[in-house]
């Protein structure tokens, strides 16, 4: 166990806590029910992305811990550069929840150093059944949250971590997990029912990066091509790949490329213009948006994306 450091007054930190507290106060789901966490006795847990922060908040729905997000919403997890204020946040936390599989690639050193300094890390990808991506890379597709069943599988690991590291009440958390698991089950069933409205020849799609592998496998969609065949948003494409993809899209009659909102869709746009009747639809992939928008919680994010995907695939020009 790492010794608790004395509380300090730091503007960046205080602002973050205030922002999280405000978000918790506003959000119906999220960082805890009616009991607003007080910053003096509640312990802090840091999740690398806003999606895992939301999920962790639901596991600790009794408000016993403060959940903070390292990578701001809208920022690209692949290229996020942590500051020393972020490092302080990590070191002061009781537990870090990270996605793994290379999603937090640039800050891997920083996470390792924080772990050496005494903050335990739970890497979700280590605890759920992951798959390798279409293209052979060292890591699999890190976008595991696109399968709600895998998120449901991660709840117990998160709950155990919270109980061990923050002394959260096991009974309260068990209740939270049970509730959230049933919400995830509903989400999964709803999404499945929605995708099932698609006919067999409406199930081919293309993506900008490898981000929908889990979603496609879970709900029986067929990813026929990827503009940039890497899970990393830092990769570049090459002309031969793009040419092959263009031919595949024409053969398969794919009319939509689903892109991620966190970064440029330049190459997908060029391809779309070249093929004429192919549209680029931007999904919410790696981060939640501000409260009140259509992707402000993990559950809403999946719902919104599923609706966008079905709309994109059924849209006849």
């Amino acid at each position: 166990m790492h010794p608790l450091r004395p509380p300090r007054e730091r503007r960046a930190r205080v602002l973050r806590v205030a922002a999280v507290a405000a978000a918790c106060a506003l959000a119906a789901t999220g960082c805890g029910g009616d009991s607003s966490p007080s910053s003096t006795d509640a312990q802090t847990v840091v999740a690398t992305t806003s999606i895992w922060a939301d999920i962790t908040g639901n596991v600790a729905c009794d408000g016993s811990v403060i959940v903070e997000t390292l990578i701001p919403s809208g920022a690209d997890a692949h290229s996020f550069q942590p500051s020393l204020a972020d490092r302080a946040l990590l070191d002061d936390a009781s537990l870090i929840i990270s996605n793994g599989l290379g999603l937090e690639e640039i800050m891997a050193d920083t996470l390792d150093a924080a772990e050496r300094a005494g903050t335990p890390i739970i890497e979700i990808a280590d605890h759920v059944q992951t798959q390798t991506s279409v293209e052979e890379t060292d890591d699999g597709d890190p976008h595991i949250w696109f399968d709600p069943r895998l998120v449901a599988d991660s709840l117990d690991v998160i709950a155990d971590g919270l109980i061990d590291e923050t002394g959260a009440d096991p009974d309260a958390l068990a209740k939270c997990v049970e509730d959230y698991r049933s919400e995830l089950k509903t989400l999964d069933e709803e999404t499945e029912a929605l995708i099932d409205t698609l006919s067999a020849n409406e199930r081919s799609l293309a993506t900008d990066h490898e981000s929908l592998t889990y979603f496609a496998q879970r709900y029986g969609l067929d990813i026929v091509g990827t503009v940039i065949p890497s899970a990393s948003t830092l990769a570049e494409s090459n002309p031969a790949q793009l040419e092959a993809l263009a031919r595949t899209l024409e053969q398969e009659g794919v009319r939509v490329i689903f892109a991620e909102g966190e970064h440029s869709t330049e190459e997908a746009d060029v391809l779309s213009r070249r093929l004429g009747d192919v549209r680029v639809v931007t999904l919410h992939t790696a981060g939640l948006e501000e409260h009140g928008s259509e992707a402000d919680t993990y559950l809403n994010l999946i719902r919104t994306n599923a609706a966008e995907i079905v709309a994109g695939l059924t849209d006849t020009p």
Partner: protein, 291 residues
């Protein structure tokens, strides 16, 4: 204004309360020590462009080390030496000026690095990014030992070859007459340059290595005249940039490497402003005295 109203809380407490801030501070100070003394010669001899090229010329070596799972430092070192050799080769066998040779190899090595990485796993340019910006937020003991060694080698090298570098910088003909082998001294300087770059880039990133190589010595050269004074002041200026950069990153959540680089450049402009005012004032004094 917290750095004025609460000096202890702003300047001291982050370091006294967080071991990672001390690690980052040591990494930054060792990088400054290794680069600023060698950087003084780089600035005085007008070799800044070569310094920049070398800071990025390490990439193909890193890429190869990545692909064959070898030692990244060794790869970077070999690549940088290959670049030095290549520049000499072009310079010897063509009438082109040295900066053209440097430029050709700069872009060649950078592109080679990305191409090697992309042939590795799909189209993957991601990992190279961390070497451009480093990870001073995650320094470990190995990093510090390596940087300490490099700083020691740079210091010893600069002291041992002081006379050779001095004559090389200000009078190459005389160097030859004195039997100081200017070509050898030049290569010796380049090797020291490579060592200081390679030891520091993994922690602070090649962008910041270049900033430390140029900005602190340039700042010092505006203020003092003798080479040992420039070196000493450059280390001081660089250290101040490290401390201020780390603290701004700590208090305001900005990217650490870039904040330190920006602090170093800001100090240069402050020194430029100060020295321009000093020159204007002394001229006025002279005019007043003459009338």
């Amino acid at each position: 204004m917290e750095f004025l109203t609460d000096p202890y809380g702003w300047w001291i407490e982050p370091f006294s309360e967080n071991s990672f801030m001390l690690d980052a501070l040591w990494a930054g100070l060792l990088a400054v020590l290794a680069t600023s003394v060698v950087g003084t010669w780089v600035v005085l001899r007008g070799m800044s462009f070569l310094g920049d090229a070398l800071a990025h010329g390490v990439l193909p070596g890193i890429a190869v080390a990545f692909v064959i799972d070898g030692n990244i430092m060794l790869g970077a070192f070999v690549a940088a030496l290959a670049m030095v050799g290549g520049i000499n080769l072009i310079h010897t066998y063509s009438p082109l000026p040295e900066d053209t040779a440097t430029g050709i190899l700069f872009v060649g090595f950078l592109a080679l690095g990305v191409v090697i990485m992309s042939s590795h796993s799909g189209s993957y340019a991601g990992d190279l990014n961390s070497f451009l910006f480093g990870s001073i937020t995650g320094v470990d003991d190995g990093d510090l030992v390596r940087q300490g060694l490099a700083a020691a080698i740079s210091l010893v090298g600069v002291i041992v070859f002081y006379r050779a570098f001095l004559v090389l910088t200000f009078d190459e003909t005389q160097a030859r007459l004195l039997g100081l082998a200017p070509r050898l001294a030049h290569i010796g300087l380049l090797v020291l340059l490579v060592i200081s770059i390679v030891a520091s880039f993994e922690t602070v990133g090649s962008l910041l290595v270049f900033a430390f190589l140029i900005a602190p010595p340039a700042t010092a050269a505006l203020i003092v005249r003798s080479v040992p004074m420039i070196m000493t002041l450059a280390v001081g200026v660089g250290s101040l940039a490290v401390v201020v950069g780390l603290l701004i990153s700590f208090h305001h959540g900005t990217a650490a490497g870039a904040t330190m680089a920006l602090s170093a450049v800001t100090l240069f402009f402050l020194a430029l402003l100060g020295s321009s005012i000093a020159v204007a004032l002394s001229r006025r004094t002279q005019v007043v005295a003459a009338t």
